[in-house]
């Protein structure tokens, strides 16, 4: 699964994307965040205020309760500030 990070999420994790083999027990976006946090303090820092982190599956906004199913691309980012 391709995971992308943007803006300060990217800066805190220290990379803009990675390919990870996610265990079968990870069902939802929220599960994925919990699993990522177990990988190290940089992830814990990025997801410290989970409720503020936006997520997208295959380039569509989703909430944290959304199942991953066979998502090929998932992204995490702060609330958008363009325009």
């Amino acid at each position: 699964m391709k995971i992308l990070y943007f803006a300060w999420v990217r800066e805190k994790i220290g990379k803009s994307q990675e390919d990870l083999d996610v265990p079968n027990s990870v069902n939802t976006v929220a599960d994925l965040i919990t699993w990522l946090e177990s990988k190290g303090p940089e992830y814990q820092a990025a997801f410290e205020n989970k409720e503020t982190i936006n997520s997208a599956i295959n380039q569509t906004h989703v909430d944290h309760q959304t199942p991953l199913n066979n998502a090929s691309e998932i992204a995490f980012f702060p609330p958008v500030t363009g325009g």
């Binding site: 943007f6 569509t60 906004h61 992204a75 980012f77 702060p78 609330p79 958008v80 325009g83």
Partner: protein
């Protein structure tokens, strides 16, 4: 429907003329109203709730692929809601200075209220849905990611109520 993400600047007159030409190529001279919105970089940034600080530059990051998809969804939705005869959304990325253009939205219609409302709608949705992030460099100190505004979320609810 024109959607572009680019580092270079845009020329509003040129972009309007391109839309008018697209329409007249279809044998129609039915455009009566053209609304444009241009967002530009201000030289002061919000430091905290009470104070501002001067900035020297701003950089814009986006999510390639998703950005185009979101902007195209927003445009399609506007075309469903109003009788539009052309729309353009251009958003710049990369490094910008105070005074620089950031974003351009253009709407064409036969009558003015459709063009005004659709441009207003496109900006409200772009502000809350399109995956862009601004980082501001103050004159002194470290660069800061801009915080999202509650007022932008509230702006969006104006349109959701109409459904």
């Amino acid at each position: 429907m024109t959607i572009r993400i680019q580092t270079e600047d845009f020329d509003i007159t040129k972009e309007i003329n391109a839309l008018k030409e697209d329409r007249s190529k279809q044998g129609k001279q039915d455009v009566g109203a053209i609304v444009t919105f241009t967002g530009t970089v201000r030289d002061m940034a919000k430091k905290d709730k009470a104070s501002k600080t001067p900035i020297s530059s701003m950089s814009l990051e986006h999510y390639p692929g998703m950005t185009e998809k979101e902007l195209s969804d927003i445009s399609e939705e506007a075309n469903k809601r109003w009788p539009l005869l052309g729309t353009t959304i251009i958003h710049r990325i990369g490094d910008l200075s105070p005074g620089d253009n950031i974003v351009l939205v253009i709407t064409l219609s036969s009558h003015r209220h459709a063009a005004f409302e659709a441009a207003d709608f496109l900006m409200d949705f772009l502000k809350s849905k399109a995956p862009f992030w601004k980082k501001e460099q103050p004159l002194e100190g470290d660069a800061n990611w801009v915080d999202a505004r509650d007022s932008d979320k509230q702006a969006l609810s104006r349109w959701e109520k109409q459904n």
